[in-house]
Amino acid sequence: MKALSKCLAGGRTAWLLAAIVAVCAAVPVNAQEAGEAVAYLPQGTADILWLLLAGFLVFFMQAGFAMVETGLTRAKNASNIMMKNLMDFSIGAIAFWAIGYALMYGGNGGSFLGWDKDLLFLGSLTDGQDMTGSASWFFQVVFAATAATIVSGAMAERTHFVAYCFYSLLISALLYPTTGHWIWGGGWLGSMNMRDFAGSTVVHSVGAWAALAGCILIGPRKGKYGKDGRVNVIPGHNMPLAALGVFILWFGWFGFNPGSTLVLVDGISHVAITTALAASAGAIGAMLTTWVKFRKPDLSMTLNGTLAGLVAITAPCASVSTGSAVVIGLVAGVLVVFSCLVIEHKFKIDDPVGAISVHGVNGAWGTLAVGLFGQRSIDILYWGEDTAITDGVFFGGGFHQLGVQALGVVSVFAFVAVVAFAMFALLKYTVRLRVSEEEEALGLDLSEHGNEAYPDFLSESEHAK
């Protein structure tokens, strides 16, 4: 039975307690005394609303990743990509509930790792006592899932599914919480006023560096590089789905960045516009770059450019002006094209969707951009006197903030690269990281899941008896 409904229906006399409590709590004291019945929304409830709504949007990014990744890979692996995107969230959520959150935000740990045994299993036994905590967990779990899912695209079309499941478990239970603790959970980088507002480094770089380690260890897809070192093209199978994915991701990013205020304050609007502008500039930057370099404006790279702009603005979104946001996005759009080419052609690392360039390289760029374009006068709208950044290089603040940012970028890179490499190596020698040559040729849909993504030929003949 639903509160408002009942009320309207008049069929019942009993009200929902919650509704009454809310109403009472919300009436200012004097108004109450004066017999006034107008109730107001508590700020705390508004904060919970905001965290949840933003979290819903970030959750929806899973669909965006799934579409981008499947669009840019071959039809014979489409079901596998769907499974991976579904399971990295599902396994990751359970892992983050069981232990990850305690390691990231537990107040009894140190500056390297958090700990709080009451947060294991989200303190399931005392459920409902801390609604603000619940909202916070929700918002964090969708971020953890984003970090996890980045690897899916980079290692697509060759990774053994069982290894991917274990990987999902490990990144959400251990890897992401650790660096997350450093910067957001009260750890050592956060204490230095490193600014990574919504997670260019904490979320995107972590996922991307893990992807980098994985890509190196697993090697390129069969046929990607010829014997003579020639780079072969393995086009994706559905560009409209890839584009749909980018629109969904952009939509979700409006939860990702503005939501990272964590409280419902006026400042969310500035974050929303820096986000929109950087993404637009990223798209334009990538398009123009491909236009000049390849003589035609390329869709797939422009899609990457849009995402690059979004990743790059993720750290500085609440510290820079709209003008700076445009510049940061433009640079990201240019950067992502060259980065993709260098990684593919020079380093011969096979990343089918450009995840390392989008999330890693531009995660780093965005984090450093705080040290270049950051303005204390803007940052302080969101932070306190002692926690706000100093002005960036281009705003006369010298190199201090840039140094802090660089330290964050480098230490997260070093830590994640090493740990992820170890993790994938472990998986390689236990459950097998890569499918066999035949399985890869057949496609992961058939070899790993026993079915096809588009089984249409059949439906006309085999089965219509």
Partner: protein
């Protein structure tokens, strides 16, 4: 050796395959095609304009068989593919001069 080219209704493929298996023909190559013939296509409507789609979905089967088997194979196919309604399709038999199995290099009727 002959090449039998049969054009049939798509949903008859399985039955034809089984009929051929019964007489010992176990290899074939199948293509999705569009057919045009006496069976008239249907009218479709798209955004308010009617238009005729003449080409109907059919399945083409290429079956190489030893000369002795041709008559039997054609009969089997014809029987299995028949619904008695217009558009059931045709069978054509073409001469084959040579045949090679790629895997082994075998030639002639050995290939089948």
């Amino acid at each position: 050796m002959k090449m039998i080219i049969a054009i049939i209704k798509p949903f008859k493929l399985e039955e034809v395959k089984e009929a051929l298996a019964e007489i010992g023909v176990e290899g074939m190559t199948v293509t999705e095609v569009k057919g045009f013939g006496r069976q008239k296509g249907h009218t479709e409507i798209y955004r308010g304009s009617e238009y005729t789609v003449d080409f109907l979905p059919k399945v083409k089967i290429d079956i190489a068989v030893r000369d002795e088997l041709v008559a039997k194979a054609c009969a089997s196919i014809a029987e299995a593919a028949k619904t008695g309604k217009i558009g059931d399709g045709k069978i054509f038999v073409l001469p084959v001069e040579e045949a090679i199995r790629i895997r082994t290099g075998e030639e002639g009727d050995e290939v089948l």
